[in-house]
């Protein structure tokens, strides 16, 4: 094995070389056959022949251990000609700008680059800023609303009227708490300037309370305009604030009320609730001009004025009409008896449940009107709670606000089916 080698060792000049067989073990370790004879250094296993693959046999210097890499000088040709491609470098990054635009001096070039950065930055920010309102407005950012169709037998709307400054605020909170506890939405009819003497702006506490409802229970409380002064101005259908007033006067009342409500709550709804549940075609026109979508009077009134429309909720004059179908309070008994002026009697529980049961059986829309100020006792609050529970026990009932119902019907998110209704839930999000 130790014959003189044609090429001396480049390290020590020795001409004594030995053949070395280089093998690879299963584990990937590459070494001379000699080195793995006692087992693989890397994996510690024995290295039998089957686990070894030969790679090459090379010459190793006996004196210094250097492995000779290459020993066939005669088999090579001339150096191949090598061409390098054009390599991008940081220096010529302005190459793509036509030469006449690139400034000569270093300082001016720096300024040029900075201007480029500023342009990029402005473009990035402008892109984000310009589309944000679209994302916000539609409020359907990725994953924000996960909607699904739900089937219901009937629809129930609660309308709580006469919200006003100072008056029976504890009752207001107690009634709202019932709706919060039962997770049922409700439309609040807010009087902007009661009797022309108490504007909402006088009671910031009420306004901040209403805003807290909007923030903490989004979509559950609809903030609707309930007239302007709530005073009876005409004898239209036994009393009305708007009906029979001149067009100009109706417009003014509406605009003034709207302004007061807008300063009080975060997002006023597009529903108008006329006091005494009465309004005329002029009211509807004025509402339509002011971009209201919905008017909610009383069914006893719409049946006469609109000549018994064939459904509870109907379209007329460009607005959706969602009249109240059942009052919580028994107003006829109030007028007849000489009882306590303060306490309007309620219908008995049976009347209320029967009225709902009928609507439910028909798969109809049931709109309950109530006035918070009369819920002065625990029993009265319990009656409201029991009514909601009764409705829930009866079957699949969709609870919505006036606006959700009206917008849902308009956009197709609420649809009548053969045996009831289907609603795209969460309806509060869908109709926002």
């Amino acid at each position: 094995m130790t014959e003189p080698h044609p090429v001396p060792c480049p390290h020590c000049g020795s001409q004594s070389f030995v053949d070395e067989r280089i093998v690879e073990h299963e584990c990937g370790h590459v070494a001379s056959l000699e080195a793995v004879s006692d087992g693989c250094e890397k994996c510690g296993r024995s290295a039998v022949d089957e686990e070894l693959s030969p790679l090459q046999t090379i010459d190793r210097c006996l004196d210094c251990g250097h492995r000779l890499a290459w020993a066939e000088a005669e088999s090579t040709g001339p150096l191949p000609s090598v061409t390098f491609p054009t390599l991008p470098t940081p220096e010529d990054n302005l190459n793509w700008v036509p030469a006449r635009f690139v400034p000569e001096s270093r300082r001016a070039r720096q300024f040029f680059s900075t201007a480029l950065v500023v342009m990029v930055l402005v473009a990035g920010i402008a892109g984000a800023v310009s589309v944000t309102p679209m994302i916000d407005g539609e409020s359907v950012g990725p994953g924000e609303v996960d909607t699904s169709w739900e089937e219901y037998d009937s629809i129930v709307v609660f309308r709580n009227d006469d919200i006003q400054p100072w008056y029976n605020q504890e009752e207001l909170r107690a009634v709202n708490q019932v709706f919060l506890d039962e997770a049922v939405p409700v439309t609040l009819g807010i009087i902007p300037d009661t009797a022309g003497e108490t504007p909402l702006s006088d009671d910031p506490e009420l306004c901040s309370y209403l805003r807290s409802l909007e923030a903490d229970a989004p979509g559950q409380f609809e903030m609707a305009l309930h007239g302007y002064t709530h005073e009876q101005e005409t004898d239209f259908y036994d009393g009305s604030e708007f009906g029979d007033l001149s067009r100009e006067e109706q417009r003014e009342r509406l605009a003034d009320g709207e302004a007061l409500l807008a300063d009080c709550v975060e997002s006023p709804s597009s529903t108008f609730i006329p006091p005494m549940n009465t309004y005329d075609a002029t009211t509807v026109e004025a509402l339509d001009e002011a971009n209201y979508t919905t008017v909610s009077g009383g069914q006893w009134f719409t049946d006469q004025y609109y000549d018994s429309p064939n459904s509870t909720v109907f379209e007329a004059g460009g607005l959706t009409h969602v009249p109240e179908t059942q009052a919580f309070e028994d107003w006829s008994a109030y007028g007849e008896s000489d009882a306590d002026e303060e306490d309007v009697p309620f219908h008995d529980f049976e009347t209320l449940t029967d009225s709902f049961d009928d609507a439910h059986a028909e798969g109809d829309i049931h709109v309950v009107m109530l006035h918070y100020q009369y819920f002065t006792t625990e029993e009265r609050l319990d009656q409201l709670e029991s009514l909601i529970q009764h409705m829930n026990d009866e079957g699949d009932v969709a609870f919505v606000t006036v606006e959700q119902l009206s917008v849902g019907l308009e956009t197709g998110a609420i649809e009548e089916t053969d045996d009831g209704w289907r609603v795209l839930e969460p309806i509060a999000e869908v109709t926002r």
């Binding site: 990937g28 890499a69 040709g77 191949p80 090598v82 930055l121 944000t132 679209m134 994302i135 924000e144």
Partner: protein
């Protein structure tokens, strides 16, 4: 001291302070600062339009992660005795607990879409305000600027080559041209049983230059060629260069500089730059590299846990490579695998300013073959080094690098498709405008991140044109590939080395896939 003296002292102190401040102001890279801070605008808008619940949920998770990162920094740097407390596993448990809490509090309506959406928002926040911040900070203080200075260590450059005719000569020539003391460099080209003229091409250089040598062996794969080449290496530092790469003139000096500066650095990565930027697909890749290298890797470099020393150009201390027994046959990405081994042996892995030019796959199908190997290799390597995930003694590697990597490899590709399906639904439901708006919005964020990367690297501003593709298109292509590769690895397909065709090889070799790696055929 007279009044005049005290005045002049005061003045000179004031001038001194002023000069220091002035130098400091000059040292700040204001363009990067502007780009970094400009992202406050889109993020501010994002927070503004979020529902309150999402805002709280993002805030809570941000807080949880901030505590985790702060704690990680504390235990790794100051109090290793607490290393076992609140580690990566505890974080995983914490995140599950977090999801339960936010659902219970009603901040999140439980559905896959909502979870993915929240995850995406949180990741965007983390990516920018943690990763981009560290990278930005890293760039500002010039941490990676290890200045090369003599004495230079002796180098052995290993060039594994399989059928690289027409390429290997150029690679050797670029190395010969490199600015480095000639008596400290030896270049070993390893012909891995090529069937073309690779050996002859390299041998011509070996004959002409004493510092070049060529070895040849039976075909066995890149790992095997590198292991074989190590037998002939005498240098203190081992450099590996792919046979299709062209090193920059200063690359060798820059890549060894960190070894001199820090004893605990075991390996050093380079900056990979694509030279054939003449098509959409290569420009997209360059933008991807620019963001990946400059944003992501700089953040990891701050902790000394750069996770991949690229095969194109990398440097290792010889004794470190020997200590970990060099390359293993059991993954498809030997560069990622060996870097993990170096990290697990307790060494830091750092980046350098060494530049290497590579030819990127120029068609979608070539890119497909390249990434098939990369992504399969990534999953194989992560699964192979799974103990890092569970063993807190690995410090930052366990606490920071792996959690990020796992989310990136196992959550993001799937989330991408949930999002895509949701977008499809939105379009069908008539919310086309919203979809477009969301697209523009996220593009603007990616745009700003890309701009920061380009500014830091001094790259070509025109690449910004491709930022939208990194949101839609290019991104989903890679996500789909990742999903496929994960499934392949888990179902143990016949995972052979797939390689891209070469632009400059006019005569295509017999098979596109090299006959390599018997590792997975068991």
């Amino acid at each position: 001291m007279s009044v005049g003296e005290s005045v002049s002292v005061t003045v000179s102190v004031a001038v001194g302070i002023w000069q220091t401040v002035w130098r400091g102001v000059w040292a700040v890279k204001w363009r990067s600062v502007a780009l970094f801070l400009s992202a406050l605008v889109p993020f501010g808008l994002l927070v503004d339009i979020m529902p309150a619940g999402t805002r709280y949920a993002v805030g809570l998770l941000g807080g949880l992660l901030a505590i985790y990162l702060g704690w990680s920094y504390y235990v790794v740097e100051r109090a290793p005795q607490y290393g076992g407390l609140f580690g990566a596993r505890a974080l995983a448990v914490g995140v599950v607990g977090y999801v339960v809490v936010i659902i219970a509090l009603g901040w999140l309506v439980p559905s896959p879409i909502a979870l993915v959406h929240l995850g995406a928002v949180v990741l965007i926040f983390i990516y920018y305000w943690f990763i981009a911040f560290i990278a930005f900070f890293h760039d500002q203080i010039g941490r990676s600027k290890y200045e090369p200075e003599p004495p230079y260590p002796s180098l052995t450059v290993l060039i594994p080559a399989y059928n690289e005719e027409g390429y290997v000569g150029r690679t050797i020539q670029a190395l010969l041209d490199a600015d480095y003391p000639t008596d400290s460099v030896e270049i070993v080209a390893i012909d891995d049983g090529s069937t073309d003229e690779t050996f002859a091409e390299a041998s011509a250089y070996a004959a002409a230059f004493e510092r070049v040598s060529v070895v040849t062996k039976a075909n066995g794969g890149k790992y095997s060629a590198l292991n074989y080449g190590l037998l002939f290496a005498d240098g203190d530092v081992i450099i590996t260069v792919d046979a299709d790469s062209i090193v920059d003139r200063d690359a060798l000096k820059y890549i060894v500089a960190p070894f001199d500066a820090d004893e605990t650095i075991g390996a050093v990565a380079s900056n990979v730059t694509i030279w054939n930027r003449n098509s959409l697909v290569t420009r997209c890749q360059q933008l991807e590299y620019t963001i990946g290298v400059n944003i992501y890797r700089r953040a990891l470099d701050y902790f000394g846990i750069v996770m991949v020393v690229p095969g194109c150009l990398g440097a290792y201390r010889r004794e470190v490579l020997t200590e970990v027994f060099a390359y293993d046959p059991d993954t498809l990405t030997e560069d990622f695998d060996v870097t993990m081994k170096v990290l697990r042996a307790g060494y830091r892995v750092s980046v350098s300013d060494a530049r290497v030019y590579t030819e990127a796959p120029a068609t979608w199908s070539d890119l497909y073959h390249q990434r098939l190997r990369w992504y399969r290799g990534n999953y194989m390597t992560i699964l192979k080094h799974w103990p890092i995930v569970t063993d807190p003694s690995y410090g930052y590697l366990n606490r920071i690098a792996l959690p990020f990597r796992l989310v990136e490899m196992f959550f993001l590709p799937f989330a991408s498709f949930v999002v895509l399906a949701y977008i499809g639904w939105l379009v069908l439901a008539g919310h086309l405008l919203t979809v477009l708006a969301v697209f523009v919005f996220f593009t603007s964020i990616v745009f700003l991140i890309a701009a920061l990367g380009i500014q830091i690297e001094g790259e070509d501003w025109r690449l910004l044109v491709y930022a939208p593709l990194l949101v839609v298109g290019y991104k989903q292509y890679h996500d789909a590939l990742n999903v496929k590769c994960l499934i392949d690895v888990l179902t143990d397909h016949d995972l052979v080395w797939t390689s891209a065709k070469r632009v400059e090889q006019t005569q295509p070799t017999e098979s596109e896939t090299a006959p390599v790696s018997d590792a997975t055929s068991d």
